[in-house]
């Protein structure tokens, strides 16, 4: 103490200007952190650096995959992104189908697109809800979850489960669409179109939300490509890339749709991209319901193996196929395959190596949120502390998906 006083006296009462620097531990138990620890280094209100400590919900999907049969992996692979499970399921099945060399009947392809688009709407609504509550907009949070419920109801009617659908099998899909579900979807589309107007009134066009999101977390086109952003976040930065257009899978080569691209690359542009994607998805759903071809929903190769009595009961009676015994532990030929889809949050890729046994030799899973870790970190640098959650929410980062 005396030393300090002497120092001050010698220095002629010089007051050192101490910048307000500090470290802040946001998470893992924090209302705005999700399943991770965000280690924030603050200089006043400005974030100097962010350290993301991810992995709190790591499930070791890739390693577990080496000890499971191919069919057993379907529910496991859905788990990381439970609200986007159709896409997770579809990308994996597409990779397995490439190894098996199976042709999928066109009706099944349309049904895959149908389920995927319903799932995309639900996923975007969920993302917007979380984004809303991060900015304190509790109505957006409740509306996001409430309006999502309508689409989840359709998925439940179609697949038999709300979120863990396990809908897509190698060679086709498990259940056929019925007129009841089509009617439900038409009503849901009308409802969501009405509701999106109110969404615009209270959330998207709200000057408060605009002030919070515009020019926040700006990602330029070059940075977006360099940091490996995917999905709506990439498209909001002016890069017109969508796997559905670049490498059409399922029925997307026959569907008319536009991919919304915005130039700004800020949080508001990302929100607008999501809103417009919901509209595009509803357009696609209408087209699918109009144009869906008649026919089988499972590849003939497996369809023939189903016992005729069961076929009569299930396929002709309830429009759902049952699984032939082949699925219990099939052994695909040696080979490797890569498949990618445009999931709700962006490009999702699966790489499967088969060594001829009933279990994959290696399964690599690259999820869209995984790529957002880098983006999040870079965007948070230099922003204000209050914008940390805005950036986080606008990226629609989903920790379990990133941790796998």
């Amino acid at each position: 103490m005396t030393e300090e006083v002497e120092k001050i006296l010698k220095g002629g009462l010089e007051v050192e200007i101490v910048p307000v620097e500090g470290e802040l531990n946001v998470g893992p138990q924090h209302p705005g952190s999700g399943h991770m620890r965000i280690f924030v280094r603050l200089n006043g209100d400005i974030i100097e650096d962010v350290d993301l400590d991810v992995g709190y919900v790591h499930r070791s999907v890739e390693k577990l995959s080496e000890n499971r049969n191919y069919i057993h992996l379907i529910p496991l692979i859905e788990r990381p992104a439970i609200l986007d499970s159709i896409h997770m399921n579809m990308a994996y099945i597409m990779a397995v189908e490439k190894i098996l060399n199976v042709d999928v009947p066109p009706r099944a392809l349309y049904l895959r697109s149908f389920a995927a688009e319903v799932n995309r709407i639900a996923s975007h609504l969920y993302g917007m809800g979380i984004f809303g509550v991060f900015m304190g907009h509790s109505t957006a949070f409740m509306w996001g979850f409430g309006d999502r419920e309508v689409w989840v109801e359709i998925l439940q009617a179609l697949t038999g489960a709300r979120v863990t659908n396990s809908y897509i099998l190698p060679g086709g899909v498990r259940r056929d669409i019925t007129p009841v579900i089509m009617e439900m979807t038409e009503k849901a589309i009308k409802y969501t179109r009405r509701k999106l107007n109110d969404w615009k009134g209270i959330f998207v066009n709200n000057p408060n939300i605009k002030a919070r999101t515009q020019n926040v977390g700006v990602m330029t086109k070059e940075n977006a490509i360099r940091w490996g952003a995917v999905g709506p976040n990439l498209r909001a930065s002016g890069v017109a890339f969508d796997v559905r257009k670049a490498e059409p899978y399922a029925a997307y080569d026959k569907l008319d749709f536009e991919i919304p691209v915005y130039k700004e690359g800020d949080a508001y542009a990302r929100t607008l991209v999501r809103i417009e994607e919901i509209e595009q998805s509803m357009k696609m759903l209408e087209q699918i319901m109009r144009e869906i071809p008649q026919g089988n929903i499972l590849s003939d190769r497996f369809f023939k193996q189903i016992p005729p009595i069961r076929l009569k009961k299930w396929w002709e009676g309830q429009h759902r196929i049952v699984m032939p015994g082949y699925y219990a532990s099939f052994r695909p030929p040696k080979g490797e395959a890569f498949a990618r889809v445009e999931a709700g949050r962006g490009e999702l890729a699966f790489y499967v190596i088969s060594d001829g046994t009933a279990k994959p030799y290696r399964l690599r899973m690259i999820t869209p949120s995984y790529r957002l870790i880098k983006v999040f970190r870079e965007l948070a640098k230099g922003s204000r502390y209050a914008d940390l959650v805005t950036i986080y929410g606008s990226l629609d980062y989903f920790p379990p998906e990133a941790d796998r």
Binding site: D45, W143, G146
Partner: protein, 332 residues
């Protein structure tokens, strides 16, 4: 004898405000809100149940906090948020014909020439309200400092910066009313019979925005931003102290709503006596409900945006209100 019914009354309005906030938000957000604690009256007793639960919970005092200030903080905040009520006239005591008429002479305001439901009669009631209410943010900063939490500290800084912005607005808006009506006594303002919102609408608007800012209502909820700062200055609180820390801002909102109802909305006029008091409270409750309704419409602004808004747009607007007050003062 005067303070005690006031406390009960404040408690009831407090519960009503929180209940209304939850119910209004629930209606807009496609849900029901509090329901099961008392189904017939829309779950009103849920708040009492919550209060009992918090009241019985253990109060945890962090070991590295400043113990005395940590415990005193919420108590003082609630007390100072409640105190301005002593200067607010809720109604006029008629000289005869009411059960309160015997008190006519005790509460006679000789400056306004009428007798009032106002515990402390003073010709400077506006000034006293501003003075007492402006202690609250200082206590919030003290509380945050005492709890020795980083989130609380950031919240304290935000609160401190914000206080400068909104206190200016509140003071200028009320002073412009004072200039316009040539008095700092609320009762005299009400007695003129011209509601402030007609005499000076800009001052009313500025005061309402400053009310939202000053009591941490949306969209100015930055000091208590839960996704950023957990619960701001009150992150470390639990139990009864937490209840008090929540009650303080709501009480302050109600105090400002009462000021708004009397200064800008004509108070108890044209009634007097107990019906007049009810009318004032209803007017105040409408303002209070509207301010809690904002939660379901807005998110929260960023601190720099609020400051920019406060100094760049509302401060000139407040000065304009002052000029209007000067001009309007010629006619009133």
């Amino acid at each position: 004898m005067i303070v005690f019914p006031g406390l009960i009354f404040s408690l009831i309005t407090l519960l009503t405000a929180i209940w209304a906030e939850r119910k209004i938000a629930a209606k807009i957000q496609m849900r029901f809100g509090p329901y099961y604690a008392s189904k017939r009256i829309g779950g009103y007793f849920q708040l009492i149940a919550d209060a009992i639960k918090f009241g019985l919970a253990e109060i945890i005092v962090p070991s590295n906090s400043i113990r005395e200030f940590f415990i005193l903080g919420p108590i003082l905040i609630t007390a100072f948020a409640f105190l301005p009520m002593a200067f607010i006239p809720v109604s006029q005591i008629p000289s005869s014909g009411s059960i309160t008429s015997p008190y006519y002479r005790f509460f006679f305001d000789k400056f306004a020439g009428i007798s009032l439901y106002q515990p402390i009669i003073t010709p400077y009631s506006l000034l006293f309200i501003i003075a007492v209410a402006s202690v609250v943010p200082i206590l919030t900063v003290m509380t945050a400092w005492a709890s020795n939490n980083r989130f609380s500290l950031i919240s304290a800084i935000r609160e401190g910066i914000l206080t400068v912005a909104y206190d200016t607005l509140i003071i200028i808006a009320l002073i412009s009313m004072g200039i316009e009506y040539h008095t700092l006594d609320i009762a005299s303002i009400v007695k003129t019979g011209v509601p402030g919102i007609i005499a000076n609408p800009i001052a009313a608007f500025v005061f309402f925005v400053a009310l939202l800012m000053g009591t941490a209502r949306f969209p100015f909820d930055v000091a208590e931003a839960d996704t950023e700062l957990v619960t701001g200055a009150f992150t470390e609180y639990s139990g009864l102290l937490f209840v008090l820390s929540m009650a303080g801002p709501y009480l302050l909102t109600f105090v400002y709503s009462l000021v708004f109802a009397t200064v800008f909305l004509g108070g108890w006029l044209p009634l007097m006596g107990i019906p007049g008091a009810i009318l004032t409270v209803i007017k105040a409750l409408i303002i209070l409900f509207f301010s809690v309704f904002m939660r379901s419409v807005y998110g929260r602004y960023r601190i720099d945006q609020i400051l920019r808004g406060g100094w760049k747009y509302f401060f000139p607007a407040a000065l304009l209100a002052l000029i209007i007050g000067m001009i309007g003062g010629i006619f009133l």
